[in-house]
């Protein structure tokens, strides 16, 4: 086996040193009835060229090169090449979690930069080193709010990503954390009156997403006021991180959870992505996951360490803030490099391009069909209601190498034949025109 660095003679010699007559001797303490005696029924050992062939075939069974007008929590943005050049350095991708600060300063400093940029973008005071993704981020945020307030209930907007809500339901089911959903109004935003009515003195937090699942930007300030008035915390989930290039950050929130896939992470059939949690400084001791802090070494030289670890499972065991351990280190590094590349000006320009593409596209679709939720601002997604089933439209578009919008019937049957479309900077005007044309009046 080509990955194994031993000759038969090495193995013989090592067995001799150990004093074992053969390798089976080292497994002899496994009760005989449980020793596996046949070959595993998995494909035979393949040459590298065969492995490449296998995956090339799988890749060809996909939609490589298609125009992608799907968003819904997974965004097709350009990935500058230096991201992969840098993360492919073995010192990054083959390193362990940086518990040993003296030989992990590279990872630690990069995480510190990640935390700093996330704070800068979200308007929060502290951010952690990453969570699994945006969906589990919401669940972790809610558990954090429950710990902070000593209250148990959650009020969540129905315009939060349906799969994020499903994940929250799964996490909450055995922790005595009831969840109530609040409807959206005509303009796609959270129904403020219904929200106000849903919050009680047991409500730990209100969860909204902005831009929400329909691409609509919420009125965060007003919702914060409603939540805070009753002593509940506000959690704002962000699924499209690039929106922060041009949309006002949710500074009124107490906790921001975010999916940062838009920052240079491949679509990759849904993962690995990278979740983020950011909050106010006063809540830092309840934040889940790893945190990197700046300090000095014995000689006063600046350096970085994993810190405040008494929150974590390896110290606190069943009393930890979360069971999270390994999370998304390398993906957070991708995001760090991406945020550095676009930086202060580029992220704004890029976000503005997304805004323009979606504005143009929704205008084109509006000529043929009904674009819902007109009364509020949106970023790069919009909902189109058609007379025809949206799956039929998508079928026709496949022939033109375009992936159409996400049919919403599964998640929101009340919207009828509606689909959620997304236009990033990578969707061309020509593709938009062709997609709009495929929608029949």
């Amino acid at each position: 086996m080509r990955y194994l660095p031993k000759s038969p003679a090495d193995r013989e010699e090592m067995l001799r040193e150990i004093g074992a007559p053969n390798i089976d001797e080292l497994f002899s303490h496994i009760p005989a009835e449980y020793r596996f005696k046949r070959d595993l029924n998995v494909p035979r050992q393949m040459a590298e060229s065969e492995i490449i062939d296998y995956f090339k075939q799988r890749s060809e069974e996909m939609a490589a090169g298609f125009g992608i007008m799907l968003g819904a929590g997974s965004y097709y943005h350009y990935r500058p090449v230096i991201i992969d050049s840098l993360i492919s350095r073995g010192e990054f991708f083959t390193a362990y979690t940086p518990y040993q600060a003296e030989i992990s300063q590279g990872t630690l400093q990069a995480v510190f930069e990640f935390q700093s940029m996330i704070c800068e973008l979200t308007g929060m005071e502290v951010a952690n080193a990453s969570l699994y993704d945006g969906s589990t981020g919401v669940a972790e945020g809610v558990m954090m709010a429950v710990r902070l307030t000593g209250r148990s209930e959650t009020v969540i907007a129905r315009s939060v990503h349906p799969e994020y809500r499903e994940v929250l339901t799964t996490y909450a089911q055995h922790q005595s954390m009831p969840i109530r959903e609040v409807a959206f109004g005509e303009n796609g935003r959270v129904d403020a009156k219904a929200l106000d009515a849903a919050i009680t003195d047991k409500t730990a937090c209100v969860v909204i997403q902005s831009p929400n699942f329909f691409g609509t930007i919420e009125d965060v300030a007003t919702i914060a006021e409603i939540a805070h008035k009753k002593g509940a915390l506000l959690i704002v989930s962000i699924a499209e991180a690039l929106s922060l290039g041009i949309v006002k950050p949710p500074t009124e929130a107490d906790i921001v959870t975010m999916e940062a896939q838009s920052f240079g992470v491949p679509l990759g059939f849904g993962g690995p992505y990278v979740g983020v949690i950011a909050t106010r400084e006063k809540f830092v001791r309840q934040i889940p996951g790893r945190l990197v802090g700046q300090t000095v070494d014995k000689q006063g030289k600046r350096g970085f360490v994993l810190t405040l670890s008494t929150r974590e499972q390896h110290i606190r065991r069943e009393k930890a803030t979360s069971n999270i351990c390994t999370n998304q280190g390398l993906v957070a590094l991708m995001a760090t490099i991406y945020m550095t590349i676009y930086g202060r000006e580029g992220m704004k320009e890029l976000a503005k391009q997304n805004l323009a593409k979606a504005a143009y596209a929704s205008g084109e679709f509006a000529k043929k069909a009904k674009v819902l939720f007109g009364g509020a601002p949106r970023f790069n997604e919009f909902v189109v209601q058609t007379s025809e089933d949206s799956k039929a439209i998508n079928e026709r578009l496949l022939d033109q190498k375009i992936i159409g919008g996400l049919p919403l019937k599964k998640f929101y049957p009340e919207l009828g034949n509606a689909a959620l479309w997304c236009c990033t900077e990578l969707v061309s005007r020509e593709q938009i025109d062709r997609a709009a044309k495929a929608v029949q009046k």
Partner: protein, 510 residues
């Protein structure tokens, strides 16, 4: 010889070399530099203020402005400050730091897979579905279980999923069981997970061999106990020889056996959890199946189960549809629900499958044998100078203790730091907690180490044992040769600085 020379005279694996200094990226920033160039917009420009109104953002604060080449230099310099498996042995017990094959990185970047949106129509997602199906089939065969979910994002996430399956199983039977048994040798995620699933944790003590104490288990097992969370081989690297009795004791009282698969690298091709009575287990693809650890993730933590838990698997599950195509089945009313958006860390699924294909049945078995051979070789070569608290046969890792060195004031954490000077990453010191005085020296070499690297490691450990007798100071102040010395963690904890700010940054750079 100078004191410095003397300190380094026995170090064979490494030599000091130039290490570049580099500030924070924010300290390189100045207005007007850029690392990007956007393609011209092919649709009409928009007035963002008009479109967004009060939601328009007013600038991006202190986000950096730098050129492309500065970014390359910045992160390249940072990378050189890291230790990595590509540089040498990573003897971290329970972490399985093995070679991350390059072909895995190539195949995961193939365009059809890398640019696959998770909501692609199934007709143009057959390739990705096939990868997930083929990996599922292979992992089911390797574990001897009946079904699997690839959705969990890491080991702890898999544990949570697995324990939720346990809970759903009893809820469906109308049984209220509120306790979970966890051996005192377990990893910290086990009790944290059980708590998240609403269970009370009951500690199960180990016997003098470091294994589950059968009598204690029999005494503690009753109708209130839902499951035993067992790591096998356990964190001492010891196979539970009475595993059949353990499984029987659990099953007789209606309980389930959960196996933490963190140590599966000791079993692949040699023994299958499904054969020795395990009902539910998780795997760590970033350990046993070689997906890169990435400086702290991403991981992947599939959960494999026996038939009686299948109805409860997270949605969706992969299914063969009537037309012969693969697809996702969402109609699963008894499911515990989703544990993550989409389908799991698919990129890790691709890599793990590539690893399995590269090995085949013979390679997988040889891998396990080499991993166990390496650990036993280290044990043999160190057991005369380090205390071996549990004499049971070792599998893929060996746990020593600092008992002999502690008499000179040298603890496991100090020995670990001195290993850095010798050119190695430290072993695991944090657990298992059952090693007396918490002085564990937990070593897992994996199959990836050639004999030469093992001999260098053994030599380093033996030299350090000698230094503990003759010059403990040198160990207590280690590392001496790293870029930075031991960090002031107390101040980091008391006055946390968790982000860069312009003023603080300037002060630190001066």
């Amino acid at each position: 010889m100078s004191a410095n020379d003397q300190m380094n005279s026995k170090i064979k694996k490494v030599t000091k070399h130039i290490s570049q200094n580099e500030g924070l990226i924010f300290e390189r920033s100045s207005a007007g530099k850029a690392a990007y160039k956007l393609a011209p917009l092919d649709v009409p420009e928009v007035d963002a203020a008009k479109l967004l109104g009060a939601s328009l953002r007013d600038g991006l604060g202190n986000m950096p402005e730098v050129s492309e080449f500065e970014i390359i230099r910045h992160f390249t310099r940072l990378s050189t400050w890291n230790y990595a498996i590509d540089l040498g042995m990573y003897p971290l017990g329970s972490c399985t730091m093995k070679y991350n094959a390059r072909v895995n990185e190539v195949v995961v970047r193939m365009d059809g897979l890398a640019s696959a949106h998770p909501y692609l129509p199934e007709s143009v997602a057959q390739g990705a579905l096939r990868v997930m199906k083929d990996l599922s089939d292979a992992l089911i065969e390797i574990t001897g279980m009946d079904a699997i979910t690839l959705q969990p994002a890491a080991g702890a996430h898999g544990e949570m999923t697995g324990m939720m399956l346990v809970r759903a199983y009893f809820d469906a039977k109308g049984e209220k069981r509120n306790k979970v048994l966890i051996p005192d040798s377990a990893h910290g995620t086990n009790p944290a997970t059980a708590a998240m699933c609403g269970y009370q944790v009951e500690n199960l003590k180990s016997n003098s061999k470091g294994m589950v104490d059968i009598e204690s288990l029999a005494a503690q097992m009753n109708e209130d106990v839902a499951a035993l969370m067992l790591t096998n081989p356990n964190t001492l690297g010891v196979f539970e020889e009475e595993i059949h009795k353990i499984a029987d004791l659990m099953h007789q009282k209606g309980g389930l056996l959960y196996m933490d698969g963190a140590n599966m690298n000791a079993l692949v091709g040699k023994a299958r959890p499904g054969d020795f009575g395990v009902d539910v287990m998780h795997l760590n693809l970033h350990k046993t199946f070689s997906t890169p650890h990435g400086g702290g993730g991403p991981g992947s933590g599939p959960v494999a189960i026996k038939k009686h838990l299948e109805l409860f698997l997270p949605t969706p599950v992969i299914a063969r549809k009537k037309d012969g195509n693969l697809g996702f089945d969402y109609a699963r009313p008894k499911s515990i629900g989703r544990v993550k958006a989409f389908y799991g860390n698919f990129g890790m699924h691709v890599r793990a499958l590539a690893y399995i294909l590269a090995n085949g049945p013979d390679g997988l078995r040889q891998t396990t044998e080499d991993a166990v051979l390496n650990a036993n070789y280290i044990r043999k070569k160190l057991e005369d100078v380090y205390d071996l608290p549990f004499k049971s046969p070792s599998m893929h890792e060996v746990v020593l203790s600092h008992r002999l060195q502690a008499v000179n004031g040298v603890k496991t954490g100090d020995i670990a730091k001195r290993l850095i000077d010798y050119g190695f990453h430290p072993y695991t010191t944090a657990f298992p907690m059952i090693v007396a005085d918490h002085g564990a020296i937990m070593i897992e070499p994996t199959e990836s180490e050639p004999k030469e690297e093992l001999d260098l490691f053994i030599d380093a450990m033996r030299n350090i044992a000698e230094e503990a007798e003759t010059n403990p100071e040198i160990i207590l102040n280690a590392p001496h040769n790293a870029r930075v010395q031991r960090m002031d963690e107390v101040t980091a904890n008391r006055k946390p600085v968790l982000r860069w700010k312009p003023e603080a940054g300037k002060a630190a750079a001066d």
